[in-house]
Amino acid sequence: MIDFQNVAYNYGGGELLTDISLRLPPGSFHFLTGPSGAGKSTFLKLCYGELHPTAGRVTVDARDLRSLTRDQVAALRCRIGVVHQDCQFLDHLPVAENIALPLTATGHPVDPADLSALMGWVGLMPLAQHRPPQLSGGERQRAALARAVIMSPDVILADEPTGNLDWDMSLRLLTLLIELNKMGKTVLIATHDLNLIRSAKSQVPVRVLRIRDRRLQLAGSDL
């Protein structure tokens, strides 16, 4: 589904990622680890076309992201749900409307029951009418995950989705992602949380990728 072919990236300084080749097949479940500043977020941005590689190419369904028109990029992003590390909400809208935004902004009807169920799952029901700036870091991450999955996208990319969460809530979100993966969705989670990875490994087949020395490696059984 998502293909990296000899991809390199740099922000203008030295090369951050070098010669990355990788295939994320449909229905696969991947973790991405690496030290802070290694380029995990950058890698995810390359996946959904917010950044374009400085060498090599990224394709989704065999189409080079660079060659897409803007409407095609928009259509692609409807099929890729992203939990951004910095969440990215519309601060003037209530949380509930932010979560429903991928639907409303593409002209889809919002089923209030579905929305409530999803918000209930991530434990945000009491905060539905709060504005995003009023939420705690963990609450924001849960809202971001809810928004990422509301369109039932083919691919879910989550950048540190549990960074600010307690263990119980982390497991709850992981369960949601695992259930979605079982429904055939492709999942990629960038995280430092080794316990989370272990917990996932015990439930579904998981591959763990690690960025080290600007390259992407398949992590071994040390995790």
Binding site: E50, R77, L90, E97, L101
Partner: protein, 301 residues
């Protein structure tokens, strides 16, 4: 709800969420409405000016094309003879379609506004007036003047409408200036709304970024801005237009055909003309905002 009505209802009702994705901006909103209102007010005046100038030019040029007057001042005894002589001359003059001496009654009526109804016309040495109608080509005024001076010394050709010729040209020019003003005001409105829209787009860069990330198309994002500015311009222009129409309706009016100042205004169906201003303002705003939004969105990759 029946299906075929759906798009129309959607259009009228708008997309509530689409309106809300851009945070409200009270101050810019009021400025945009105010600008549109002020511009609409000015357009109504320019329109009234053009219409009145057009009306005036038409009336004056009609009169111009058709009439002149010959005034005969003679002792009562010779009056009829001189009148006949002038009419005979006019009959031979090329370019004269018809000539007719005014009756006493008609002369009385002309003088009434100045001297009252009880004017003893017989007792006063009032000159006799001959109404001359020209053909389309007109006659040679100087030639006729010379001939009258030679043959009927009491007769004076008063080609009084001729001095209006530059006035007709001026009225025509005034109408053109009015129309040009309307175009300029329209352009200025478009420019100002473009600036306001660009400011709104710049202020909402983060909103645009988030919408992009979740897969909104440019047309959807642009529509949120366009709808907002179009509605503001429409409401502002409606208020400005009503104010302008009210001001013109309150101008002191007179039925006397003459004065330009009192003739400034709309007549009959002409009052429907300014009603076009608000939709035109909405259209200008729609085009300006849409252009600005799509250009900005193209730039922000």
């Amino acid at each position: 709800m029946t299906r075929p009505l759906r798009p129309l209802i959607d259009l009228l009702a708008g997309d509530r969420t689409a309106d809300r994705i851009v945070p409200p901006s009270g101050f810019t909103a009021r400025l945009t409405s105010f600008t549109a209102g002020a511009m609409a007010f000015l357009v109504v005046f320019a329109l009234a000016l053009s219409v009145a100038a057009g009306r005036m030019a038409e009336r004056w040029s009609d009169a111009l094309a058709q009439t002149a007057t010959i005034r005969i001042s003679a002792p009562a005894a010779q009056m009829q003879a001189q009148t006949d002589k002038v009419l005979a001359i006019l009959k031979e003059t090329p370019g004269v379609a018809a000539a007719r001496a005014l009756s006493d009654d008609e002369q009385k009526k002309l003088l009434e506004p100045w001297f009252g109804p009880d004017l003893p016309l017989d007792a006063l040495p009032v000159p006799r007036l001959i109404d001359v109608r020209e053909t389309a080509t007109g006659f040679d005024a100087d030639g006729l003047k010379n001939r009258l001076a030679a043959e009927v010394p009491g007769a004076v050709l008063d080609d009084h409408t001729r001095w209006r010729r530059p006035l007709v040209a001026a009225a025509d020019r005034l109408r053109l200036l009015g129309l040009m003003s309307i175009l300029l005001i329209g352009g200025a409105t478009a420019a100002m709304i473009t600036l306001a829209a660009n400011a709104a787009l710049a202020a909402n860069a983060q909103v645009i970024r988030v919408l992009r990330l979740i897969g909104s198309r440019d047309s959807y994002i642009a529509r949120a801005f366009v709808r907002r500015f179009t509605l503001r311009a429409l409401s502002g222009a409606a208020a400005g237009t009503l104010a302008g129409m009210g001001a013109i309706a309150l101008m002191p009016a007179t039925d006397q055909a003459g004065s330009f100042l009192t003739g400034l205004g709309f007549q009959g169906l002409g009052w429907l003309l300014p009603l076009l201003v608000p939709p035109a303002a909405a259209l200008v705003s729609f085009a300006a905002t849409r252009g600005a939004a799509l250009a900005t969105l193209r730039r922000l990759t």
